[in-house]
Symmetry: C2
DNA sequence: CTTCATAGTTACCTCCAGGTAAGTACACGC
DNA sequence: GCGTGTACTTACCTGGAGGTAACTATGAAG
């Protein structure tokens, strides 16, 4: 089995400035928010600029407020671009950036792995359900 | 640049049962929780069983309550094992599973990529800060 | 004068993650 | 009989994510 090279990981972390460290955490935090990945993948699949209302149709269930917030954060992080057209009614187009697409490419293997290994997770669940899970001291009868 | 094969991804999703679909979401949700990855990586680095209190020392800042919850979820998902020893005071040992280690291996490339590309994110932030960001209709003067 | 379409913003509310602090059970050493 | 060590559980509290619904600006069409 492949292993994680923790030494190398640590070495890379040490090279980061305090601000960069914060930035990495922010990025990770952001992509773990409710609608972020879904929104990005919608934009990535389209490949072309999309209007706000169009994105909202594709990301089923999202509210205007959340979509605005999500897109703003993605723009701020350089993962999507936002272009405003001076028209009435307003037209605003969003498009995924190269950086954004690359991020998705990085994420994809792990998503794939998860899906292909669902059965192992299912098995673990079943096994867990069978355990009687008690506090340790409820069976503490033997001393050290 | 590498691209994501959306067709294949969709095809894989279609093969999942409704329960499996829920499960995948749960897994992803769980690993995006505050302490999950940190806790897992501590266990993975150790490679050996660790007591509750020892884990708590390594995962700086976590509360007892959160550690308990995190470990329970990891156990339920089959990512760590939990072994209770019938002693007083109690001894409980946690250890990462093969499944858990594999998950970390999947995640690592993306983490590495993020760290090596911080500068691009920094640049995006700076650029964003420079934009005057207004409502679209504040400059809507030209009709379509 | 009203309606429509678009892309927001804002006020208000609810839910839940997660923190703090105290309690619990047990045997041992003093 | 009191403190100590361990692995929890429980009650209480706070902040923030995210939902709903109403409001905003603008020009064209009716």
């Amino acid at each position: 089995m492949k292993k994680v090279d923790w030494e190398k990981a640590d070495a890379m972390c040490d090279k980061l400035s305090a601000e960069q460290d914060v930035l990495v955490r922010e990025i990770v935090t952001q992509i773990s928010e409710k609608w972020t990945l879904w929104t990005m993948s919608v934009l990535a699949r389209a490949g072309a600029p999309m209007r706000f209302s169009r994105v909202m149709e594709e990301v089923e269930g999202i509210s205007q407020k959340s979509l605005t917030k999500t897109l703003r954060q993605l723009e701020r992080g350089g993962l999507v671009t936002r272009e405003v057209f001076a028209e009435v009614p307003p037209r605003v187009e969003y498009k995924i950036t190269k950086l954004g697409e690359e991020l998705l490419v990085q994420l994809h293997p792990m998503w794939l792995w998860t899906v292909t290994n669902v059965k192992r997770f299912e098995a673990a669940r079943l096994k867990y359900a069978g355990n009687g899970r008690k506090n340790p001291w409820t069976r503490a009868r033997v001393s050290r």
